[in-house]
Symmetry: C2
Subunit: 352 residues, 2 copies
DNA sequence: CTGTTAGCGCCTTCAC
DNA sequence: GTGAAGGCGCTAACAG
């Protein structure tokens, strides 16, 4: 029935450093040196210890190691100030993550900066100096920002980019999604939901100067242009992620375009778009796809105003950034699989 | 620029049990008793200690606690024997998770059983006796199985159901998805991808005696019947999750049904269905939706044979089960958010 | 180069 | 009821 049922009592207690030391005929300290690849051990002794380790198949206990190292770390999360629903949600999740970090002997600060302005962001990063062991920041793909990240990095501060990346920088890790792929995902859903119909599709971005918005737009346009010739994109409009502006733009689209069949919202401000759509009475007719699950987009999905929401899990991103920084500081490995942020598709039926 | 930048040097070292003891004017042992709600402390002393804890805002260090408790646990994962690609994938992920468990002082066995047969499964669970501190098992919603789970539970063995649930049992947690919702998700995607077209949709299950398959079918049929009157469901066929059988059924659907426009595969055996579809030359015309991302379904998505895959992340499920068992055994809390298994939708563009 | 010796922060016997 | 003392497994000074 079952295969490898060694009874509990037979268990020979964990193999410890001491066992290895005895087996290798050396002291604890020497084994410790070998394990942590510290200098000052003769090659011959190293070999002997390694043999013992292999023979006993010893696995160091990370718990005990952490306790004995008795280190504590300081992390900093750089988040936008003010900003939209998604960012508030992210901040909340960062606060949860920092509770967890605290229990892991890491103190976390949250600082706010204008993460959309390269100069301001770079300045904020510069100001961090070497006060932290790790920094997680919403990034921008800009030379100034890259330089600031590389600076931190060369000062020994681990940097993780969050939600928005600076790919060419020396950041340790990016906790976020591939926005081009996210845009393509939106495009394919738009095309398929509109199957057979033809007409115009309006696109509202926050600002195409933001790399993630530009990438989503690129991915979306790529799919639409390449695979759905019956659908024409209206010139992109920028709503600055602002509810009122996006609402105005959506109203205008609706008024000016009788054959409007789709609406793709690249950034925030979905509340405004949804409102315009509902007011127009054409919500059932127009496919509306946007990003990021918030209480608002969720409601729109449920009511059928929105047809799909492409999401990145803010909680996952915050926890992932925290885990990656911790693991890096302790010199422990990460489970790559677990740190991959998915491009979630939500429709009415698979809402969490 | 930044807000709460307390310099690193000012940090006053962690607050420890000792600080609390001093502050309360008692010994370490007493504080320990209070914290772990153990008897043998006068109410007055308890109050004094609790006051001190609050005053210093003391947080116990879980690391040190685990080390000192010096406990080790035994877990068991009960998985189907043989079985399909998804289950192999799950088993691989369980092996990864058990590596992690090992580093957390938990030894893990994997036992194989016929998890589709209530008697066999219940027997396997019964055989586990009290050898384990925790068991994660593919479950079945059946009285015999429920009884076996409840038995384990009352023997003090924590039980987590994995992928397939036994809702009425006294299991601690279910690491899996809501299959009715998953079926509805498939239904909505089918309906929308088929927008405007009408015709027949074939459904192939493994076996409707399996609760998860039945639930998916229910959800799917609910949506199709309620919202897409132009689409008619053909009578469900059961392919026993077997590649050859499903292929034969798919061929028959294709041959007998000229107006076949959709194919929903509830269980495994997608390889067979995809093959039949490709052979028929109607792959572009028929919307094919199935479950679980495997190398095969992935390839079908990329080639456009499949249009969407509803997935449950096997790695996430395995890790989640492991984490929940560990946390339970150590009496530590879990991050609920992190343990919620998503109903993933994958299309060509958002593949991981 | 190698070994000895204190801890890390908490839990768990045991005495009192 | 309460306290003192000895670990848990590992690391980090020091000595030699």
């Amino acid at each position: 029935m079952n295969e490898s049922q060694t009874k509990g009592e037979t268990r020979p207690g964990r193999i410890t450093l001491e066992d290895v030391a005895r087996d290798a005929g050396v002291s604890l300290a020497t084994v410790d040196r070998v394990i942590n690849r510290r200098p000052g051990v003769r090659q011959k002794t190293v070999a002997r210890v390694e043999a013992a380790i292999a023979r006993l198949s010893y696995r160091p206990d990370p718990l005990a190691a952490r306790l004995a190292r008795n280190r504590t770390f300081r992390f900093c999360f750089v988040l936008p100030r003010g900003s939209n629903t998604f960012m508030s949600l992210l901040e909340e999740q960062v606060r949860h993550a920092s509770d967890w970090l605290a229990s892991q002997r890491a103190d976390t600060d949250i600082v706010h900066a204008d993460t959309f302005d390269p100069e301001a962001l770079a300045g904020a990063l510069d100001a961090l100096g070497s006060a932290y062991d790790g920094v997680a920041t919403i990034a921008l793909d800009h030379p100034r920002v890259r330089a600031a990240i590389d600076d931190l990095s060369s000062r020994g501060v681990a940097v993780v980019t969050l939600v928005s990346d600076a790919p060419s920088s020396r950041r340790l890790h990016y906790a976020g999604i591939d926005n081009t792929a996210a845009g393509r995902t939106a495009g394919t859903l738009m095309g398929r939901f509109l199957a057979g119909r033809s007409g115009r599709v309006g696109v509202i971005a926050g600002s195409l100067a933001l790399r993630d918005h530009a990438e989503r737009h690129f991915g979306f346009a790529q799919v639409m242009g390449g695979e759905y010739p019956g659908l024409t994109l209206l010139p992109v409009r920028e709503g600055r992620d602002d509810r009122e502006r996006t609402e105005a733009i959506a109203r205008q689209f609706l008024a000016d375009t009788p054959d409007l069949v789709g609406l793709y919202s690249i950034g925030a401000g979905n509340r405004g778009i949804g409102a315009a759509l509902e007011a127009s009475g054409r919500a059932d007719d127009i496919v509306f796809i946007g990003h990021d699950l918030t209480p608002f987009t969720r409601r729109f999905l449920v009511r059928g105003v929105m047809d799909a929401v492409i999401n990145q899990d803010a909680g996952h991103e915050a926890r992932s950034a925290a885990r990656v920084l911790m693991a890096h500081c302790w010199g422990e490995p990460v489970v790559a699989d677990q740190e991959r942020i998915r491009i979630d598709i939500f429709i009415r039926d698979n809402l969490p």
